[in-house]
């Protein structure tokens, strides 16, 4: 098993983005899988349907109302789709109970939220979500959450969006400066929590069932990015001065030594200076470049971090040391996405029969007429697989078929022929034949004599 990292940056417009690459590499080895040209986006503005095969990289170009679609294994964009306006962040919502991509949710510079169905390209909904640019969109368990420069967090239920409801599920307005990043838990719908970070130096945790602000952590620097441990034991927040701070979500109480959850009931917890650097990563501190993205590895022992100077590092959580430095990007790192893969599953060349494009994203809102037909682009497959020989079953079938060739009645209807019997029978027959013949001959002679005499 290997873990692959897709990373790209905001790019360098001064060089007409000729140096703006996106890369796909392993974080555990020096293997470099692929690179993508002109792959630049706003922070959070790139998303992937997956890795390898027919999966695509979807990039919302910074400063342009365009989306580039890349196929793994090919450097240049496979498809360029014009959009109604410049999109600042993208996120893919998978089909229910499946890993297939379903919705493409985009937050725009104007504050609108666009929801496309990736199977058909239909623009299912456009929502006036924010007053300013949307900075981040995240999805989980039927919720779409967006955070914007207007310092609000807006939560939609997917079902409401699809059924044309204009009211969001909830709006959180506790942050006082732009919301920069969000992470959201999954699992039981009753347990879903969302953590948001903002330039106002706070991390806020909300419960999406009770809609309460559960905990607020106050840092001492504006926060640019957040990532959570896979088991939500701690958070990693990227600060403006290039530090990464660990925020433990469970601690032992000093009085009782009982392991308990940190915060709750709207508590405000100030993250104190970590002089011993027990909970701080200083690997990006040179040059004080804000940490723009963080991702946590499969086992939670390593984090991948990217800063505004384009540096991407793999850090060890326990020792806080740099394990690996990846190829530097032009401009602030905008995306870090980790995928776990079986080794060698990604080939450098795309499949010949692969579907190379996604349906063109519509620029006008879906109408009833379109929905009546609702054409979905799909490649259907046959679910039947070839079977292996199961010897026990096979032998059983053989036995059950064998009965048609066997006779179980005990009655033998075939004619039995015995050689000895036949011999004696033949001799008997011959004997009787000879005696018959001699008698016949005698009779014949007599008859002919009589006939002659009469004449």
């Amino acid at each position: 098993m290997d873990e692959l990292l897709f990373y790209n940056s905001v790019g360098d417009p001064s060089k007409k983005h000729s140096t703006s690459f996106g890369f796909l590499s392993s974080i555990h080895s020096s293997q470099h899988i692929g690179q993508y040209r002109q792959c630049y986006s706003n922070i959070n503005g790139t998303t992937l349907t997956g890795i390898g095969g027919e999966h695509k990289v979807i990039v919302a170009c910074k400063g342009k109302a365009l989306i580039h679609v890349y196929l793994h294994g090919k450097e240049s964009p496979e498809q360029t789709i014009p959009l109604p306006e410049e999109v600042s962040c993208l996120e893919i919502f998978p089909h229910p109970n499946s890993e297939r991509s379903w919705l493409l949710v985009a937050g725009a510079v104007s504050g609108r939220l666009y929801v496309w169905e990736l199977d058909s390209g239909l623009l299912l909904a456009v929502k006036e979500s924010h007053y300013q640019s949307v900075g981040v969109v995240k999805c989980s368990k039927g919720y779409i959450v967006s955070g914007g420069a207007d310092s609000r967090i807006v939560v939609w239920k997917v079902l409401d969006i699809l059924t044309d409801s204009h009211k969001p599920y909830v709006i959180f307005t506790d942050h006082t400066l732009p919301v920069t990043d969000i992470t959201i838990s999954s699992g039981l719908i009753n347990d879903i929590k969302l953590w948001s970070v903002s330039a106002d130096q706070t991390v806020r945790c909300y419960d999406l069932t009770s809609l309460a602000l559960v905990t607020t952590f106050v840092a001492q620097q504006p926060i640019h990015s957040i990532a959570a441990d896979p088991a939500f034991r701690c958070l990693y927040i990227g600060l403006a001065n290039g530090m990464i701070r660990m925020v433990h979500l469970f601690q032992a109480s000093p009085q009782t030594q009982i392991w308990e959850q940190v915060g709750g009931f709207g508590k405000i917890i100030t993250l104190k200076d970590d002089i011993d650097l027990r909970e701080t990563f200083t690997n990006h501190q040179i040059g004080e470049n804000p940490v723009t993205r963080i991702a946590v590895s499969f086992d939670g022992t390593q984090i991948v971090t990217g800063d505004s100077n384009g540096r991407v590092l793999v850090l060890d959580v326990a020792t806080k040391q740099t394990v690996r430095t990846l190829k530097q990007l032009a401009g602030p790192v905008s995306t870090l996405k980790l995928f776990r893969m079986e080794a060698n599953i990604v080939s450098n060349s795309a499949l010949k029969t692969a579907v190379r494009t996604i349906p063109v994203l519509k620029r006008s809102l879906v109408e009833d007429l379109d929905l009546q037909k609702h054409e979905v682009h799909r490649k259907f497959t046959d679910s039947e697989n070839s079977r292996q020989l199961d010897l026990d079953n096979f032998l059983d079938t053989v036995k059950s078929e064998q009965k048609w060739f066997s006779n179980f009645t005990g009655v033998d209807s075939s004619v039995k022929q015995n050689k000895e019997n036949l011999g004696s029978e033949l001799a008997e027959l011959r004997e009787s034949y000879a005696s018959m013949k001699s008698k016949y001959d005698a009779l014949y002679d007599e008859h002919s004599k009589l006939l002659m005499n009469n004449k």
């Binding site: 309460a212 601690q251 009782t256 104190k272 054409e375 259907f380 060739f405």
Partner: protein, 703 residues
């Protein structure tokens, strides 16, 4: 040669003519299937074996051919034999068996052993082909030259062994469409022959599906270019044909009285004037026999099955009109004599009843198509969710009592199959959502499900049956009433349970409905039913307004359960670098692990011979700290346990005002986790927050 392997030479003498009957066939086959038998055999023996099997296959004796086909399967499990020249010989011999039709003279009354032999030969062919497929050189040299004759011979026996022959032909069509091209029309004729025969409905479901599937794949896959275009054309053609057949119903039902239905029917692609349907036009004369109306139902059923198969064959990327499929489903579900009354000029009571009855069958067909879609299209269906649920909702009979619309119990019990089919559809669609809140679309179905889940005592049998039939004795009904109680069947109960599970996990139920369902589940479980998943659902998705937790009951019902145990002994995720132990038990296990680690470390050190002076000193220091820690913990532990318990079982204080006094299971977990600081420290202490970060931490992994 090792002694464990089987000497092939010992069985070879028996493999000649009918001598083979002297040994046990099962034993022989399982021996031949063992890899060691083949890999350890000498070249001569192997040649001998393969030649003998070939002799059996080419024999004139039906039993010997059958035996040969079985042995060919077993031998081809070994790559040594698959890769040899004999595979090609076996293929040839099998083809000859099929071509000879096993000497069946009269196809109408073929002897069973001949059929069995043919089927077995098909199996052997299919097994060998599957084995070769994907291996390029083998395919090129052995399979490809033989393919045309394989297809040809299979087409010959399609009427004798339809199941096996069509299975294999479908497989070849799917994987070798180029070679199949010249045989396309012949295969299609054969399939249409089977389809057109009166016996089609008598075939088992699997065979019917396979025939339709092959027909569908055949209709578009043999073209050289623009397969996806052809798929779409054919698909639209069948949609139009379905529409034209449904429209026949407007002759005797006023379909236009249901506005939605008319709208949906109009939205389907219009049928052109010179439309040439794939199937011969229906000949329905209701004056001759009212039952002829069933012809329409079975034609619609056939067309709907065909449309479904279009989604289950391998295709290139195509544009599938999901909307049309949903609409066809909804139209069929919407045909109901209550909303689209039977025309008044039809006066014959029998005919009217049969039309109403046929409408129910159409509903079933509609539900069938709606049922398969969620699995295939997933979230793409959600924009249509409400409309689908509301049309399925119309199938539940209702009556008006005192101005209130309630579910008609008699009506529900009269046609439970339709209700169950409707529940299945709802389950499939609701599986796609989270937190579905539009419960007005589900209330009636919940009531119907609750009605169906109760055991029923026949009511009024004694009163009415006397008039209809002469009963010997109805005293049984009075004396042994228990034996007359009817209940839902096992499958039906499963549907009900699935529905309840979906309701609990995916929907926001109101409190009364939820408690009604919970009551039913728990009563069911008390009776001993296997409802573990439902109990989990009850535990994991408690209602917001619940006054009491189901945990005690679930604990009693699932005494040994692992998940329940986690609920009773809640635990928090442990951080990777922290070592703060809060329970004696955990301490023990940690200690064990430590010891193991120590051991490993010692071993490693021994191996590497890297004994530095600092390392043990550090270890000692760490060990000391650990000891200290344990001591303090042990000192605290007795007192702590009671505190810990009191924390969990104490009623929730004013801090949790929004949570009810007796918290539900979900809340309990929260409380236990979050109440700790509030009970342990003086309220409002400002240092409380900060104190979290002043714990002396013991870092074990700093080396």
């Amino acid at each position: 040669m090792s002694e464990e392997c089987f000497p092939l030479s010992s069985v070879l003498p028996y493999m000649e003519g009918s001598k083979i009957e002297e040994i046990d066939l099962g034993y022989l086959l399982s021996t031949l299937a063992r890899p060691s038998t083949i890999s350890n055999a000498s070249k001569t023996d192997l040649n001998h074996l393969c030649a003998r099997v070939n002799n059996y296959l080419s024999s004139n004796n039906a039993k010997h051919r059958w035996l040969g086909s079985k042995m060919a399967i077993v031998l081809n499990t070994h790559i040594e034999i698959t890769a040899s020249e004999y595979t090609s010989k076996y293929l040839g011999a099998l083809i000859r068996v099929l071509e000879s039709k096993c000497f069946v003279k009269d196809e109408a009354s073929a002897p069973v052993y001949a059929i069995v032999t043919l089927e077995s030969c098909c199996d052997a062919l299919s097994f060998i082909i599957n084995n070769i497929r994907g291996k390029h050189a083998l395919t090129r040299e052995m399979l490809t030259p033989k393919l045309p004759s394989i297809i040809g011979s299979l087409l010959e026996i399609i009427n004798l062994v339809p199941q096996k022959a069509i299975d294999l032909l479908y497989d070849l069509l799917k994987n070798n469409s180029t070679t199949f091209r010249p045989f396309g029309s012949k295969f299609e004729r054969a399939l249409l022959g089977l389809l057109g025969s009166d016996g089609f409905n008598k075939f088992e479901q699997r065979l019917q599906h396979k025939i339709l599937k092959s027909l569908v794949l055949l209709s578009f896959s043999l073209t050289k270019n623009s397969t996806s275009e052809l798929w779409r054309t054919k698909f639209n053609h069948y949609v139009q044909e379905t529409k034209s057949v449904i429209q026949i119903y407007s002759e005797f039902m006023s379909l236009d009285e249901d506005e939605d239905l008319t709208q949906q029917l109009n939205a389907l692609p219009s049928v052109p004037e010179k439309f040439e349907p794939q199937f011969p036009p229906l000949d329905v004369d209701l004056n001759e026999s009212p039952l002829q109306i069933m012809k329409i139902v079975s034609r619609v059923d056939l067309l709907v099955n065909l449309l479904i198969q279009f989604l289950q064959v391998p295709t290139p990327q195509v544009k599938a009109p999901v909307g049309y499929l949903l609409m066809i489903g909804q139209i069929l579900v919407g045909i109901n004599h209550k909303f689209t009354p039977i025309k008044r000029d039809i006066r014959d009571v029998t005919l009217r009843q049969i039309i109403a009855q046929s409408a129910t069958l159409m509903n079933h067909v509609g539900l069938k198509i709606l049922n398969v879609l969620p699995n295939i299209f997933g979230g793409d269906l959600l924009p249509h969710l409400n409309s689908v649920l509301s049309s399925v909702d119309t199938l539940i009979p209702v009556s008006r009592v005192n101005g209130r619309i309630i579910v008609d119990e008699v009506g529900v019990l009269d046609n439970p199959e339709l209700i169950f089919a409707g529940l299945k559809t709802r389950i499939n669609f609701l599986e796609l959502v989270e937190g579905f809140a539009n419960m007005s679309l589900l209330h009636k179905s919940i009531d119907a499900a609750l009605i169906l889940s109760k055991p029923r005592i026949p009511q009024g049998v004694a009163k009415t049956s006397e008039q209809r039939l002469k009963n010997v004795s109805m005293s049984d009904l009075l004396s042994d009433q228990k034996t007359f109680i009817t209940e839902a069947t096992h499958e039906q109960k499963n549907v009900l349970r699935q529905y309840f599970k979906v309701l609990l996990t995916k929907c926001v139920l109101n409190y009364s409905k939820q408690s009604e369902i919970l009551r039913l589940i728990i009563l069911d479980a008390v009776k001993g039913a296997e409802v573990k998943e439902l109990l989990y659902a009850a535990l994991l998705y408690p209602h917001k307004e619940a006054h009491a937790s189901v945990l005690p009951m679930v604990k009693q019902l699932l005494n040994d359960d692992e998940l329940v145990s986690v609920f009773l002994n809640p635990r928090l995720p442990v951080l990777p670098t922290k070592r703060v132990v809060d329970q004696a038990l955990m301490e023990e296990s940690e200690q064990e692990r430590e010891e193991e680690e120590e051991e490993r470390r010692v071993k490693k050190m021994k191996i590497e011979e890297m004994e530095t002076t600092e390392a043990p000193a550090e270890d000692n220091r760490k060990e000391d700290m650990r000891e200290e820690k344990k001591e303090t913990l042990e000192a605290n532990s007795n007192g702590d346990v009671s505190d810990y318990e009191s924390m969990i079982f104490k009623p929730v204080g004013p801090l949790v005002e929004n949570q009810v006094a007796q918290p539900s299971v979900e809340n309990e977990k929260l409380v236990e986790a979050e109440q700790a600081p509030s009970t342990q420290s003086p309220p409002g202490s400002p240092s409380d927050d900060e104190s979290d970060f002043e714990i002396p931490e013991i870092d074990i992994d700093d080396d």
